[in-house]
Amino acid sequence: MTNDILVYIDHFKGDPLPASWEAVGAARKLAADLGGSVVAVVLGASVSDLAAAAIAHGADGARIVEDPLLAEFRPEPYADALKTIAANAELLIFPSSGRTRELAAMVAVDLETGVAPDVIELEVIDGQVIATRPIYAGKLLSKIVARDKRPLILALRSRAFPKLDADASRSGDIVTVEPEINAPKTEVKGYSDAEVGVSLTDAAVIVSGGRGISNNPKLSPPAEITDEKEIEVWKAQQGFKLIEALASVLGGAVGASRAAVDAGYIPYAHQVGQTGKVVSPDLYIACGISGAIQHLAGMRTSKTIVAINKDGDAPIFKLARFGVVGDLHEVVPALTEAFKERLQG
């Protein structure tokens, strides 16, 4: 038994998933408390560059398996490869994805050890690793520890742990391993495009617009639109484009208050509230929404509420965790840019 902390590097079509670096970062922190080396594990057809990147992001070394049977991710051959490498480790840490969930599950069975997915917090107390994960849809939290079996297998929730910046000057050994791998009984036939649009009730992030969305004196409508009501709707639609852009950057859905829907700014399908949909996202950004009780009834269980409104006394601020008293037509696009920089950089 070594005290290696293994970190599985998740990748898709040759690109590493950024969450993998968060897992490396988390492993680094654990290594500081526990001792032991952080060893990246990369499996695939040709992965030495990914291994190098892992070292740059904080791993002390890497173990790789390069095999044509691993060209396309399938959990069974990947588990065959990984179980040999992980057998003597103290910890095996994964970033979260559909792939890693299957892989972690199978390696746990192969090594007769425990696995805890969706970990949001890690601590070390008296040399013991304690992982915290949500249960009952996050209504409760559970702390998990390993009994006698090792490695303890953990999959970390994305963006719950910080990653270290890449440092090309870091170095470490990349060791090639050649475990026995059985050919899979399954075959990937192909891929098709990801879904367009996120459903409101499933969305983890919702950006909503209210009555205030049409109030933008700086906008000039095109010459053809002269009717006052039509101008108002046109301005509102421009405003909703800003909302959509922010939602898109955050991977979220677009919502609206009843007032906005009644005024014809956006279809009813987007309505959040007593009469519309009841939502419970992790993040709800309310733009130009006053926070009348029937709207609140539809979104008050959101984990975090951010309100952007010109009126500092709007009731929504009583429920919001973060507030901006300002013009949504300026703040929302600025926020889109700010997130683009931070998330896509």
Binding site: R258, Q274, T275, I293, Q294, L296, A297, R300
Partner: protein, 403 residues
Amino acid sequence: MDFGLSQEHEMVRRMVRDFAAKEVYPGIKEADRNQEMDPQVLPRMGELGILGICIPVRYGGQGMDYLSLGLVCEELEAVDTTLRVVMSVHTGLASMTLLQWGSEDQKRRFLTPLAKGELIGCGAFSEPGAGSDFSHISAAGKRKGDSYVLNGEKMWISLATKADLAMVTVRTNPEIEKASAGLTTFVVELDRPGITRGDIHGKLGVRAGSTGWISFQDVEVPLENRVGEEGEGFKVTMSAFDSGRYTVAAGATGLIRAALEASLAYARERNAFGRPISDHQLIRQKLATMRREYEIARLLYLQAGWLKNAGERNTLETSFAKHFATDASFRAASEAIQIHGAYGFSDEYDVERYMRNARGAMIYEGSNEIQTLIQAEYALKERQDKPLRMEMPAYDAEIWQAG
């Protein structure tokens, strides 16, 4: 005395609750505003077997008991009264009347497709000039060889324009001294020549439903369509009301529950004077009353259902249930509006719709004044239940579930 409901009852109740919540509730406000019945409701209730829930399997139904009918109506009306109205007229007034009074031939020709939802039925009893004073309806049926010719107008008929057939009671004997003994009931296919029908809009409530009028002009109806004997029409119609009234009672109980649940949710959220309004005594009083009256209404309709299961006459018990539940549901809905404050006055919330819907049930299926008179007659022993020539069958799981 076992007050428990069986696991089967619980599963039935949950299934209907899920259906109504998932498929009807999302569009109900719009349907109510537009005064148009959602075209999916009748086909879906038919497909799922809800329309034939308490009809024996051999007649196309689901073979469940009368308690199940009540539970289904409670769940349906908790979402919207119009769903329960379908059960009242299609299942109560039409199907169950045929189950009680229909010939085997009529059960095959009409009851079976009704139970399966292949045909939609309704009850055409009330008229522009006669509701409570049913003995003195004026629509007439004249015997002509092997058929009858019907003339007259029926009004306030739920599903008038949606139904395929109607149970119609007319005066066949204008001479007879006791007016009620001169009535006869028929099953009338509504595509017979001479029938016209139309919708009535502008109702205070039950707007997501369909209420209308049916006019008969020299409509020929064959002898085989007569339900019961000539002159039995009053008894047949009163039997129909025993069935329909039960569904109204169960449904109104569901409405009390809906008003209560909406009020509890709102009262916990809304703050006034530094705390949720559910902390304030005057609000608590309203909630307690709603809860108490729900429990009373529930026990009353379950008792009626239990008697029906036993094959025992239950006109009085059904009258108690209908009377109490409908009055209580109007009170509950009105108080729910009060609890919601100004928001209760807006159609943003459901409670104003509950109140508008509740008001109708106090009037139809035997107005609550008629219920009072019925109850007085029983109390004074002026009224004795005489055995009917055709009784509503008791529930027997084995017989009813046999194919």
